[in-house]
Subunit: 417 residues, 2 copies
Amino acid sequence: MEKTLTQSFQVTYEYPVIFTEGIFESENNLLASLIHPVKEHIPPKVIFIIDSGVHQEHPELISKIECYSVYHTSRINMPINPIVIQGGEAIKNDIKYLMSILELIDEQRIDRHAYLIAIGGGALLDAVGFAATIAHRGIKHIRIPTTVLSQNDSGVGVKNSFNAFNKKNFIGTFSPPEAVINDTTFLRTLTDRDWLAGVSEAIKVALIKDANFFDFIEMHIKDIQFRNEEAMGKLIFRCAELHVNHIGNSGDPFERGSSRPLDFGHWAAHKLEQLTNYSLLHGEAVAVGIALDVTYAYLSGMLPVKSWHRVLNLIHSSGLKLYHPAMRHAINGRFEVLDGLEEFREHLGGVLTVMMLKDIGEGVEVHHIKESLMKKAIDLLASLSPADNRTSLARTTVGIEHGFTRTSNFPEDDHHG
Amino acid sequence: MEKTLTQSFQVTYEYPVIFTEGIFESENNLLASLIHPVKEHIPPKVIFIIDSGVHQEHPELISKIECYSVYHTSRINMPINPIVIQGGEAIKNDIKYLMSILELIDEQRIDRHAYLIAIGGGALLDAVGFAATIAHRGIKHIRIPTTVLSQNDSGVGVKNSFNAFNKKNFIGTFSPPEAVINDTTFLRTLTDRDWLAGVSEAIKVALIKDANFFDFIEMHIKDIQFRNEEAMGKLIFRCAELHVNHIGNSGDPFERGSSRPLDFGHWAAHKLEQLTNYSLLHGEAVAVGIALDVTYAYLSGMLPVKSWHRVLNLIHSSGLKLYHPAMRHAINGRFEVLDGLEEFREHLGGVLTVMMLKDIGEGVEVHHIKESLMKKAIDLLASLSPADNRTSLARTTVGIEHGFTRTSNFPEDDHHG
């Protein structure tokens, strides 16, 4: 005789994303106020983990945090000095870093009511967040993203990850943090390259969700490029807001379906990062990925030529690149980057679902990519790109005006899921 | 100027726990009906992982599953034959097993819409569930528990885990399965030891939640011990039901608080498993852990002597043991098992919260354990236990009647969190 019990429950997730400045000034109560006591008058253990890149630019940060924890000793019990760990994609590629964080959690007797606070770029936040999630089935963690990219995109979301089997983010979980604090202090010391790399995610989310935001970026792109803090602050806030709203309101925060609209341009980006051995920053790869997918959308007749032109122009004038030679790395005549489509489908599972563009601010999902047309799009971007790999706007215009205004019939050499 | 976005969303978790028989008979549609197609007419990939212990008793299972997947080919796409992996606690102690499951997921291009189906005891389900949770941030998994313990307790819940740093379940997540199927077929081939080991979790949950269920177990304990399937079936169903209801209705399914009532008797049990190098089965350790905590509750004046007597008698007449010599392993005169209290607190974090007993069916949480009294409880259980480590009921009775009817004042050598 068959019997069935049905388990059913809901879990609520809530966390603030705070935009501020100077969080480690002793008198600033913000961070301390986010730390919940174990019980009245008993502060939890708090361990700070700092990205080696941040440490290099802010060697004073360790002593600032030490002072901060002394000043806020009623809220923070810091058993060891802040730890500096390898930042950048390297931390996600070697399991020794993951093990060292888990060892720290064990040695310092960090428990579910204690806090791991990660200060760094998206990769460090991903790795520390993953360690926090799996240790004791989940330790509290607070993210303090220090790059444009992590402040406006990866750091404000609900994912963490680790790379394995040569696949970016093969391992990871959905696990919201206790809080995210975006402190502008850290942006000032970014290299121009890191500053710029974060702009592509803002262009991405504007393209699929908010034409007005695209207008804003277009209008202020030179301010943004040349490190105007006010313009960048607005870009980060709006980008983060669109990201947060999408996760909260999509109805699928933990991506159980096949759709991942925020990953516009990302199937190629992830593959390019891997093909370039992560010498291309994620944001740089996303810029190329966006350029590729808008070019495909244009070639397939989905996206008006003028809009295509606007997108390429905006990426180009931001100082980001539209093309990377790794896009045409071929094995037996086939561009390796195209494997990114199947890897992207595989990561989400189910039916291939790629975000495309009907117009600026209007994303549309497709379940079928013509591989031959995608190859054309790659060749077109390559042809628009001078040998030194910096796109000439003049040539872009020529390409657009004379080269590819038609959409042809291509052989049935398709990619679909 | 400070700005804050608030992220807030709910996630619903739902899965069936099915009690049935013969799920791999070809004509049985149950399992196939639980597999959701990727899209219409496209069956997902399904990988079966079998516990080596199950394989030994059911060598025919692999070909049965192969036939089943051929018969149900419209629902199941089985890319490789079922895999046999080391069962028992060993799988959770060596990362090579975890890596081998992850490699399998990678090699077989298993994605979020594919299924990992684990057939085995609690340890195998824990390890496979953990791998499924972290690969691609979560692959669907179905649990088919094959022991009494996993069918009535660990297998029906929302946790998975892996051991690290000599600590049981140091690593893991909360991650509900797609479904749990309890098939009685697998129980028939259990050794008497494994059959019996699962009874202690039923005694545990009866003690803290359901006096009538305790009466039932008491009344049928000899049937249960001597492998009456009907009695055991009822025991498993009610125990699983209480477990499932607790998780769904406690308001804290993912244990964000400090309380874990279902872990009555478990602080000592987990430590004993480790101290005996896992030669003691989890269920056996839990029986000893229950005996210890009810003895402590009795000595502290919390639990009436008659109820104490009933509990020890029931454990004893089930064939389970009340004591293990490892309980008195001492370092510098201190019983090592007592470290289990702090490790238990640390795993959950926050304030020490131990479930104790006021009476049968009436659990009560305490935040303070008198270490000296716990030591007395251990000594008392040892004294009731003959050297061959099989408790004599006669001596138990003598002990109870003549030895320890008073609660004394003990020195303040306390354990609290």
